[in-house]
Symmetry: C2
Subunit: 210 residues, 2 copies
DNA sequence: GTCTATATAGGGATAGAC
DNA sequence: GTCTATCCCTATATAGAC
């Protein structure tokens, strides 16, 4: 808002537009498949301006990818590392996470593809945001186990199970849909039932007893 | 073996070498990131020969990808669609599938990335190989439910759960490892425990009762 | 800040000799 | 079948006018 001059489309605002355009194209095409020209087109600016704002494709990608991780990870870590009672927490997590996935179904495939392409760069970045989560979760699990409410399970196991069951259908849709003989509509229905399926499946697996 | 002439490295044998090289490079780099030059180098032949054997990068990729699907899908479909008793079948599947993943941990990420990049081309191909699997599985489930051995679940749900739990750790390793605060060694241990975890978790979830 | 024009490189593909 | 040399297009990146 505090602009120094009369320049029409500059700094803050345009940069946000460009970043949104870049995210759109990167997510659809992947880093290697993305074209600076297409990003410029989507952003409604000149190709040269991309290199003016961000020096290179690589730098632009880094900004986009970090901003995505910054938007995705904190809610996830907070949800799983909160002090809510374990059962409530699981319900909450699945509910909120599936909603997030439904609003950006292509995001997980993109994130995982890129992380597998270039693993080292973001390891510290992710580690940094997640440090508090596993200890809290493990303590809650241990308490619930002691009082006989659930059977033993590692925190990493539980996190992996929840993330697997939530994310996998979105990542593996092109495989699952034909594999299970579903058409587009059937898959839509399948996804719609995930929230309740995952929670009931997880609770069923966790309940103690033989 | 029945070669027509004295040509040294030709047809059958070289083609197999080239396909193996191409698979190696495509899996590591993805379609867009792969370079024909690198494939030629790995195969130990000239770049021009690649275009002699396979007309284009796209055709080469199609061959590689189809051969991968041909190697991966039939065992999977057969394992899940067999007439073995349900419990045995699940144990067998998890056991065999995790072994397969351990021997090619980068494969699932590649397959899913590429399928998400270009979904339509392989839909019919996959569908064709899987048609018999869901009906058999659903019938077995229904029988087990009727006799009170498991609680109700859809065949697609069960397939999705098993595939999710087996595959996801391999696809999401660059996320899970830092997220759960594991180092490389810890993750290796984590993976080593998957077989028994997945089977016991699944059986626990399926057992009937409140 | 914004544009046009262009430099420069890389990569897929082919020609043509052997 | 196999090689070298090269075509040609595309994509990133920059120069330089406005």
């Amino acid at each position: 808002m505090v602009e120094t001059s009369r320049e029409v489309g500059n700094s803050r605002s345009s940069e946000a537009v460009v970043l949104a355009a870049a995210e759109d194209v990167f997510v659809r095409r992947g880093y290697d498949g993305a074209r600076m020209q297409e990003i410029a087109d989507v952003a409604g600016i000149n190709k040269a301006m991309l290199h003016y704002y961000f020096r290179s494709k690589e730098r632009l990608f880094q900004e986009v990818f970090r901003s995505i991780l910054d938007r995705i990870l904190p809610p996830l870590v907070e949800a799983l590392g909160s002090e809510l009672p374990l059962g409530v927490k699981i319900r909450h997590f699945v509910d909120g996470y599936i909603d997030a996935l439904d609003s950006s179904p292509a995001l997980p495939s993109f994130i995982l593809s890129e992380l597998n392409r270039d693993r080292s760069s973001f390891d510290a970045f992710i580690r940094d945001k997640a440090s508090a989560m596993p200890p809290v979760l493990q303590r809650q699990i241990d308490e619930a186990v002691s009082s006989g409410r659930i059977r033993p399970i590692g925190a990493e196991e539980l996190v992996t199970v929840l993330l697997s069951l939530c994310i996998f259908p979105y990542v593996a849709r092109p495989l699952l849909e034909p594999l299970c003989g579903m058409d587009e509509e059937a898959f839509r229905v399948f996804l719609a039932g995930r929230k309740s399926f995952i929670t009931s499946f997880a609770f069923s697996a966790l309940r103690p007893g033989a």
